[in-house]
Amino acid sequence: MELRWYHFAAWAAFVVFMFLMPEMVSKGTLRIFIFANFLAVFAISWDVLSGRTGYVSFGHPFLIGIGAYTTAILTKRFDVPVELSIPIAVIVTMIAGLLVVLPALRIKGSYFALITLAYMELIYQLVQVIRPDLTGGTRGMSGLPTLTRGAVNGYYMSLTLMVIVAFCVWLLMRTRIGTALSAIGMNEEAVKGSGLSVTRLKLFAFLLSALIAGLGGAFYVHYLGSIAPRALFDINFVFTIIVAALIGGASTTIGPIIGAFFLTFLLEYLRPYLPGAERYFIYGGVALLLYMYQPKGIYEIINQGWSKVRARS
């Protein structure tokens, strides 16, 4: 658990490599990287709650959506500057998430997963019928202020966000709180029996998850410049987030990043052969096989491969 110099060296190497990326790849590829960066942020957010504590959220777009819609409405309808609307969006996500999840924290296992799914469907339907003059109803909103212009700047913005989020979460999870959250995932009763208030820990995990989701959602919407309810509160979106975290390696910080990049590029390389939604056929198939083969994800596969290599030399 200790921090060692080579941890920081690895982070530094990763950041330098990623920041040099625009020199190495085309603008088109860079746009793919941007999506991978955002997906990594969402996957980390999911993992903080579900990967660690075992409380699976099937409705994570609910949180992302609150963040995205808050800043979209504030900037579009009330001309609030982005610098102000994003922090507000993050706070609103945390508060709204808290109000909603507080009673749900009593609920265990599969039922928790179901209630999050219900929350997502609820907000999807509400957004379309309640105050469409604010939310843009079924069609959503476009022409929102964007933070950057061009692929390179967009890439730097998304990369910075992803690296900051990943690094902070990584640092945090290396402290005892990370151990405590994972302990909940392994045996919640025994955590209680060790004198720790499980509800408080779950609440912390949820708030952290909401913070990252709100942040990611807000930046994402100001990268895209538009927002549409069907694209956001979509089961395919939930699927992509969860699969990224799991395929990469749940309960690690690097895992969701690996997963996000792996899946985004897999999806992109399938595009020439399968242009539409049928891409998910191969994509999901690969994800399913990988998950069945190693539920702990690519991170664990690499780990095991590495220890084999070391054992041989």
Binding site: A104, A118, L126, I235, L246, Y280, L288
Partner: protein, 283 residues
């Protein structure tokens, strides 16, 4: 008023059928089969392909849909649920992945656009000012017949009672010499069949499109949550509560809000009575 009564009864019958396959798996195997909606999807498209594209008799279309649904249920149990034995989270997550894969498979074969299913029985009957398509009437009657048959199957046959036993106490059932794997497999088969047949009816109620599996899944989830785990009667009652609530919301408040009420009901019940309105009952 009569109109609401009739529409409510028709819709609720269909919902009961949709929810039943999901409840069965949940009560016997304690597994939330998030791929359940995909059975409806496959059922609807199978019927569409055989009965409408190939022009086979409609009854053959329904039967083929049922057979395919049954096969899928059994395959899912053998290839996915059994290898992941015991890990409910893993089963749920891989079920969700499977559902998305199946949806993409449908897009691959039939395209993205929605299809209109021709009514199983053409024609409309007017009852007390309400237009009731024969198709919907047939769907509701067929749902009831299937549900009553299922009830007697579970209560009266040897296999049905073994299912009850596994549902109540898997270990006890195993000690009494019940092959839980076989019972589980049968349950998955029945669940797949029910889902696929419900899919044919559901698609003729609404439309056939690749994303159509989410709505019935949510309904099934709602019924299970509100009704509590796995009682056939409870499922029936709750399907009627939800069906009537949706019809009344559409009629008196706004059609767009019908789904909102269902969600609100799920959330409210989960928070106030996490074990459901009817609590834990046997099958």
């Amino acid at each position: 008023m009569t109109q609401i009564l009739i529409q409510g009864l028709l819709l609720s019958g269909l919902y009961a059928l949709i929810a039943m396959g999901f409840t069965l798996i949940f009560s016997v195997g304690r597994i939330l089969n998030l791929a359940y909606g995909a059975y409806l999807l496959i059922g609807g498209y199978t019927y569409f392909y055989f009965a409408q594209t190939l022009g086979m008799p409609k009854i053959a279309g329904v039967l083929l849909a049922a057979i395919l649904g049954c096969t899928m249920g059994i395959l899912k149990f053998k290839l996915l649920v059994k290898p992941l034995k015991g890990d409910h989270v893993a089963v749920e997550i891989s079920s969700l992945i499977l559902a998305v894969v199946l949806q993409a498979g449908v897009v691959l074969m039939f395209g993205d656009s929605s299809k209109i299913l021709l009514p199983i029985i053409p024609g409309v009957e007017r009852i007390a000012g309400a237009a009731v398509p024969y198709s919907n009437l047939f769907a509701a009657v067929a749902s009831w017949v299937i549900l009553i048959a299922l009830y007697f199957f579970v209560r009266k046959t040897h296999t049905g009672r073994a299912m009850q036993a596994v549902s109540m106490d898997p270990k006890g059932a195993a000690i009494s010499g019940i092959d839980a794997d076989r019972i589980n497999m049968i349950t998955w088969g029945i669940s797949g069949t029910l889902g696929a047949v419900a899919g044919v009816f559901f698609a003729s109620y609404t439309q056939l499109y690749p994303g159509m599996w989410v709505a019935p899944l949510i309904i099934a989830v709602a019924v299970v949550i509100v009704g509590g785990i796995g009682s056939i009667i409870g499922t029936l009652i709750v399907a009627h509560i939800i069906g009537f609530m949706e019809v009344m919301t559409s009629a008196f408040i706004a059609p767009e809000l019908r789904g909102v009420m269902t969600m609100a009901l799920i959330i409210g019940v989960l928070i106030l009575r996490p074990k459901g309105l009817f609590g834990r009952e046997e099958l």
